[in-house]
């Protein structure tokens, strides 16, 4: 009886070990199963999902115009104080003064990419960009000014 149990244990153990080795052996002999993406080499073909949240960007059109009015809704919506909007008073052609952004300061190093600023924006001025290669040697380089120099707000965006 004892001997039967003993042999049974040995048999079952060896069989379970061989089953495990069969699994790893299968993968060893099937290189097609390899999942690795050779990342820096496939940069040209690498496509992120269109909703991927990589960083906050501010789209500009061909005539260097953006849609940000400087209402600071995003600044309020941000949980981490990532966005800081510096406004200025701009002289309109009709002589009136109008609030406009001087600098849309975006601290990528503080950003948790929660999308709150984008959903808070009333004029769709900012959106999430697909870039994900953010590593820099100096943290200060992560502080970005999103509006391009010399850009101004689009016509008709209030």
């Amino acid at each position: 009886m004892f001997l039967k149990d003993y042999v049974g244990t040995v048999y079952k153990s060896v069989r379970s070990l061989l089953t495990g080795m069969k699994v790893t052996g299968y993968y060893f002999t099937h290189p097609k199963e390899i999942q690795t993406q050779e990342y820096p080499d496939n940069r040209a073909t690498l496509q992120m999902f269109d909703r991927f949240k990589g960083e906050v960007i501010m789209p500009h059109d061909d005539s260097n115009e953006h849609r940000c009015t400087g209402c600071q809704a995003c600044e309020i919506a941000c949980p981490n104080g990532t966005i800081k909007i510096i406004t200025k008073q701009e002289l309109q052609p009709d002589g009136k003064k109008k609030k406009a952004i001087d600098a849309f300061v975006y601290h990528l190093e503080l950003c948790t990419l929660c999308n709150m600023c984008v959903s808070a924006c009333p004029s769709d001025a900012i959106k999430m960009g697909q870039s994900f290669e953010h590593s820099v040697y100096d943290k200060r380089q992560l502080k970005k000014i999103l509006n391009k120099p010399g850009s101004k707000v689009m016509e008709g965006v209030e």
Binding site: V10, V14, L17, G20, M21, T24, Y27, F28, P31, T36
Partner: protein
């Protein structure tokens, strides 16, 4: 059919011997020169072999783990291990302040020396053996027991509790698993009637022991694989290092060159164990023959003997590597249970069976 590549290395060696005798006038100087030359050649071979084994391990691990393994340095990543070695050599060797410095520095040397000594009686090819001493197998198992001293020394002198625990584990592990290794060696020694490596290989001229010796030899092959994996401290028996438990065990405190020496010893041991398994169970450099089928045997003879030896050895190396990347680690008490409750009784009964086979002449 003549082998494809038949460099008679023994002839080559005797030529060198004759030339040296002529040049140096014989005597002690020749012996000394020959020793130095052999040592240098062997060391070079082993270092290259270890590079290869390291590369092989990473590639095997990579393919098993559905990744590519090293693929950046050199063609297909083959120089990765060279780059790693250079890195290790350039690194600062840190010695813990409270360690026993003398023993701390000595330990890796002893481990490597023990590993190197065990290479001596291995038959690499037909007529290529450094020292064919008449107790070859006993010598290997004797010399390999030196390594445990090095590990104990390393663990104790590091002044680190993880290291000490690892060393304690290794002592218990190696001392007990030596028994099973010895018994499975004995089954082949009984069949061959000799401890000499060349005799054992020649006895397999008409078939390897694993085919000739029925199931008992198969069992002792499996036991040898398991027990020797444990004896060289490889996963799933790597309790002395046990990264997840002891963060590196006995070599936690080692860095740079001295760490590289432990690594070198690990791979040499892996090679030695696989070579012994290939020699005693799989016929060493003997080609694979199938009865009296002359055409087939001729083709097999055409492959050089060194290729046969290396092929068989690498096959065993692969199996041991697959063990490592498939199984979880045992616990220390299970490790000892496995030895004392399963491997040792089975191999004892097995030895008796083999003795019976030998006496009755039941083997082929």
């Amino acid at each position: 059919m003549k082998p494809l590549l038949e460099i008679s290395l023994s002839g080559f060696a005797s030529q060198i011997d004759a030339w040296l005798n002529a040049a140096l006038g014989g005597g002690t100087l020749v012996v000394a020169t020959e020793m130095v030359v052999t040592g240098v050649v062997l060391l070079g071979f082993l270092v290259v072999l270890c590079f290869f084994l390291g590369y092989m391990e990473r590639k095997v691990a990579g393919f098993i783990e559905i990744r590519l393994g090293p693929n950046r340095v050199g063609p297909k990543g083959s120089l990765q291990i060279v780059a790693d070695t250079v890195k290790l050599l350039m690194k600062e060797g840190i010695t813990p302040a409270s360690s026993d410095k003398f023993l701390f520095h000595l330990a890796p040397v002893i481990v490597v020396t023990a590993a190197l000594l065990a290479v001596a009686p291995i038959a690499f090819a037909k007529n290529l053996q450094i020292w064919d001493l008449n107790i070859g197998l006993l010598y290997v198992s004797a010399v390999s027991s030196l390594a445990v001293i090095g590990i104990l020394m390393a663990g104790w002198s590091s002044y680190n509790k993880y290291s000490l625990l690892g060393a304690m584990r290794s002592g218990a592990q190696i001392v007990s698993y030596e028994l099973s290794v010895g018994l499975s060696l004995i089954s082949i020694v009984a069949l061959t009637g000799s401890l000499k490596i060349s005799d054992i290989v020649m006895a397999q001229q008409d078939g390897w022991w694993i085919f000739k010796g029925h199931i008992p030899v198969l069992i002792s092959f499996v036991i040898f694989l398991i027990a020797s994996t444990a004896e060289i401290n490889r996963a799933p028996f790597d309790l002395t290092e046990a990264e997840q438990e002891l963060t590196g065990g006995y070599h936690t405190e080692y860095s740079g060159m001295k760490f590289a020496m432990f690594l070198l010893a690990e791979y040499i041991n892996l090679f030695v164990v696989s070579a012994i398994a290939a020699t005693i169970f799989l016929g060493g450099w003997m080609p694979f023959h199938l009865g009296h089928w002359q055409a087939f045997n001729g083709i097999m003879d055409w492959i050089p003997s060194s290729m046969w030896f290396m092929g068989k050895t690498l096959f065993v190396v692969f199996i041991i590597m697959q063990f490592r990347w498939t199984f979880p680690r045992l616990r220390i008490d299970q490790l000892l249970n496995l030895e004392w409750k399963y491997l040792l009784p089975i191999s004892m009964v097995n030895t008796i069976l083999v003795a019976l086979i030998t006496i009755m002449g039941w083997h082929f």
